[in-house]
Amino acid sequence: MTETPLLELRGIDKRFGPVQVLHDVALTARAGEVTALVGDNGAGKSTLVKCIGGIHPVDAGEYLFEGRPVQVHSPRDAAALGVEIVYQDLALCDNLDIVQNMFLGREKRRGLVLDDATMEEMAAATLKSLSVRTVKSLRQKVSSLSGGQRQTVAIAKAVLWNSKLVVLDEPTAALGVAQTAQVLELVRRLADNGLAVVLISHNMNDVFAVADRIAALHLGRTAAQVRASDVTHAQVVELITAGRSGDLGLQDTSKGAAA
């Protein structure tokens, strides 16, 4: 792997008042790959995602995008780079239809008037590029969609803007078996289309189903970032719970905590 990763974080520190949430965290995400970000509750996954998305500025560390160091201070900066984050609560308007939700805040206009036809075409093209077949009409309201379909709309919204990195925060947490499979298929397709995908998940089955690499956080530190094919299910669970697994992970956690 000699090519530069799309996103590379090095030595990220983040503290909220007296609480240091992230210590010296590193994470890389490559185009065309799904990088799973795993860790127990409170390991710092959400904070790290918010740092990537520009919601929380980092206290220290390097944020490299396409090999160049960049400053991300706001969600707008992140969006300008091509970073889109799909949060767990999706943030869709139930009373609007699929097209309106996908373009919300960035509507296409012809003069004063909304250009509905163009937006519908673009939305249809995006969904088609993701091979989404589950949505019958683009003009149906989001309130009439199932959980999996909503997730699909939220992901399609993130992809619509020629984004390069899509971060998904537990996209399958609230879904049934069939819908989970569908969303995972969609996640895989995003990577196959050449995007870098960071997938946060608690579910090892999901992680091994789609991820190329796995980054494990343990108490705010990077335990390990490994290829999914190089580790077993049990090793990843150990990395999550203990921060180490044999040769992998934080070798001396007591020394690490003191440092």
Partner: protein, 437 residues
């Protein structure tokens, strides 16, 4: 107006039953999204029925109520159907419809403006004082009244959006405050009469019969052209559009209903033609019509309107999408108070004067009732400007019909209150139904 109401079946969305998602999603036919073809009439009808079953009633209860009430009253009191009464109905309801149109914007955000009635009173008082006491020309006075409305809206909106006081409390305080302002402006309750012929014309004059027909023809042609152009554009791009049959029915309905109304209004309705002739479309009808078009355009076709719906549906989602939520809130209050000012001008014109009761007593509740009865949700995110017109007509028919039947004001208020309660109940239940999925 009724044609705008029938925009409902336009979106050919077939609501999916949640239960069968698991299977249908896996085996979904790829053709559906890949090449959207125009849905058949049957499919459109089924989609509409599905939406109604899902609790999205839209304007259906208001239209049905209007038809039932009209049949009921005309059977019991044939005079209800007379030309004179029809024209009266329209002029009676105009002021409260204008206020209700403004309230739709605020209700869409899930907020309320309890002070809209007295805000219209303040604006009417400003109008009357400038016209009568200071001798301003009508355009200056009307502009000042509208400006007063805008300032009131800016104040209320800022208190709600920036300071963060619940709109219920802000406007309840303003309700009392504006009542006081009206009293102060009118020097403790004197009655200021209005003599300016232009202002009086708004609610009291009629278009000449020829002008009425011309106006209808213009509206019909414009409406048809817009609908056909939009449908052509969509089908050229291969997007699912409205089938031509439905389009023709919709345009036909506008023309027929409009023609019947204009014909009725153009007939002589003076009791004694020798004393004075009274015929033609009341001037308030095109005034309300223009406001309806402007409001509908703003809400349905501009991104401002879309953002109003978005903030009403989910303020958090709107904020994350980069929408300036505070600006949308303030703007909605400004629009509401400006339309209240229009309502005040119409009320002043109709009453030939302004007194401390202008915009008081039941004006606000009838206006809120109009919007809700028309199908605008009190929970925000759902509603259209045409709801205010339909609901306003329902309220006016109840008031007018019961008056003709000789019921006292007490009974009329009680019945109107019950109808509002029923409408709010329907709103709450349909919301529960949509939330259940």
């Amino acid at each position: 107006m009724t044609a705008l109401a029938s925009e409902q079946p336009e979106q050919p969305g077939k609501t999916e039953q949640p239960g069968k998602n698991g299977t249908s999603e896996r085996t979904g036919e790829p053709e559906k999204t890949a090449r959207p073809t125009g849905p058949g009439l049957a499919e459109l009808g089924r989609g509409y029925l599905d939406r109604i079953r899902a609790g999205e009633l839209g304007s259906l209860p208001a239209v049905a109520g209007l038809v039932v009430l009209c049949v009921f009253f005309s059977l019991l009191r044939p005079v209800f159907l007379s030309n004179l009464n029809f024209a009266n109905l329209l002029t009676q309801s105009a002021g409260s419809i204008a206020i209700a149109m403004g309230l739709v914007f605020v209700l869409l955000l899930g907020e309320i403006d309890l002070s809209a009635g007295y805000a219209s009173g303040v604006c009417a008082a400003v109008l009357a004082i400038l016209l009568t006491n200071h001798g301003w020309p009508w355009y200056g006075a009307v502009a000042a009244a509208l400006l007063t409305g805008a300032v009131i809206g800016l104040l209320l909106g800022t208190l709600v959006a920036k300071v963060g006081i619940p709109s219920f409390v802000v406007t309840l305080a303003a309700f009392l405050g504006f009542q006081g302002v009206v009293l102060m402006l009118l020097k403790e309750g004197t009655n200021v009469s209005i003599k300016d012929p232009t202002v009086l014309a708004i609610a009291n004059n009629n278009l000449s019969p020829v002008l009425g027909w011309l106006l209808l023809a213009g509206c019909a042609v414009g409406y048809a052209a817009l609908q056909v152009r939009r449908s052509r554009d969509r089908s050229r791009r291969g997007l699912a559009g409205t089938p031509p049959v439905l389009l023709a029915v919709r345009i036909g309905a506008v023309v027929v209903l409009g023609a019947v109304a204009v014909d009725l209004l153009n007939q002589e309705r003076s009791r004694n033609v020798l004393v004075s002739s009274l015929k033609g479309v009341p001037l308030v009808v095109p005034v309300i019509g223009a406001l309806l078009l402007l409001g509908t355009f703003t809400l349905q076709r501009t991104n401002f309107g879309l953002h109003v719906y978005a903030v009403g549906g989910s303020p958090e989602a709107a904020r994350r999408a980069g929408i300036n939520v505070a600006f949308i809130r303030i703007a909605a209050f400004v629009i509401c108070s400006c339309l209240a000012a229009v309502g005040g001008v119409i009320a002043a014109s109709r009453g030939n004067s302004v007194d401390p009761n202008t915009g008081g007593s039941n004006v606000l509740l009838l206006a809120v009732g109009s919007a809700v009865i028309g199908g605008t949700s009190l929970f925000g995110g759902r509603g259209r400007v045409v709801d205010a017109v339909l609901g306003g007509l329902v309220v006016a028919v109840i008031q007018n019909g019961m008056g003709l039947m000789g019921y006292s004001s007490g009974v009329k208020y009680a019945v109107t209150g019950s109808v509002l309660l029923v409408a709010a109940g329907v709103d709450a239940m349909s919301r529960r139904r949509t939330a259940q999925r």
